[in-house]
Amino acid sequence: MRIAVLSGKGGAGKTLVACGLACAAGEAVYVDCDVEEPNGRLFFRPEQVISRPVLRKMPVFDAEKCSGCRRCVERCRFNALVLVKGAPMVFGEVCHSCGLCAWVCPEGAVREEGLEVGAVESGRAGGIRVVTGELKLGEATGVPVIAAALEEAGDEGTVVVDCPPGSACPVMEAAREADYCVLVTEPTAFGLHDLRLVAELMRVLKRPCGVVVNKAGADFPELDAWLEAEGLPVLARIPYSRALAAASAEGRLAYRQDEAARRIFDGLLRRIEEAAG
């Protein structure tokens, strides 16, 4: 079963919940798809880590074969190509690796080579396999790295996906194939605003989902009213505690530090398994 953990708002407790679920499962794969800021490994501290690069295709031009016809330059919809003094130049950060230039070239002068855009690491922390996608700095989109991390994680057993924050493309890529989605929020107007966006994403992706309210305690009745109106189940409430905040701050796993947290995550995993059938 693949469980995706999302939160519209960053800092709502997505990594806390994803790590907690992987711990509760005991034997599991935790895959960090928050590739701009992969932090799960700071908690699991995996060992025997193997890293491999994630590549995307980039055109390379054969100057001998190129006739300077400009077809590729004119058809590239991203304007990644320029022809100067009869020789094409490619601009990597503008290129989307779509392959159009190679396809339209009448001379077969375009070949494609891999360009590194990030890395996927895999290591073990006890029964948990920790897979981390990390985007190279300066790269625009994490989507290829997310796809590679999910592929590395596979589909065997319980796979917990720590998604990027927000509700844009990379989140969709990370949550698309999930059997169940957990939406983590906090009881604030910001939390509710961003939760609405992720809930809309769930409708678009047609994924079953439920909500975890983190830092519960402070009163924000608008959140409960909205959840009830939407018919979204609350799977768990995690009360704010200074001890939990401190454990997270120092990179310690809440599940292994705190009896109350353990009960919450065990219960949460059971509820997800029931709901996902």
Partner: protein, 118 residues
Amino acid sequence: MKVIIPVDEASPNTGVCPSFGRAPYFALCEGGSVEFIENPGAAAEGGAGLKAAQAAADSGADALVTPRCGENAAQVLKAAEVKIYKSRPGTALENAAALEAGELEELTRFHAGFHGIA
């Protein structure tokens, strides 16, 4: 010498446009006369600076006079052997004349190529 300058309007008294990649027109100045071409980068979805640089390279200009220029466009213009000079306040034609008189400095600082505007 043929000089290309990003401009706001296709009229002789036009000022220099603050953006190279997104300028609506280019003025092509040579020996006191001027003609205008549209900048294909102005309406580009992305890569505007590159598209503008392609047009500048294709125009046959020897020099570009602009207030600012991105790294990517600068790389294209270097390959095309188009020198880049920093514009000063005034019209496009005044800038072209200043360049002819050797009064403009070469532009040596280029902004990072991320998404085009300041």
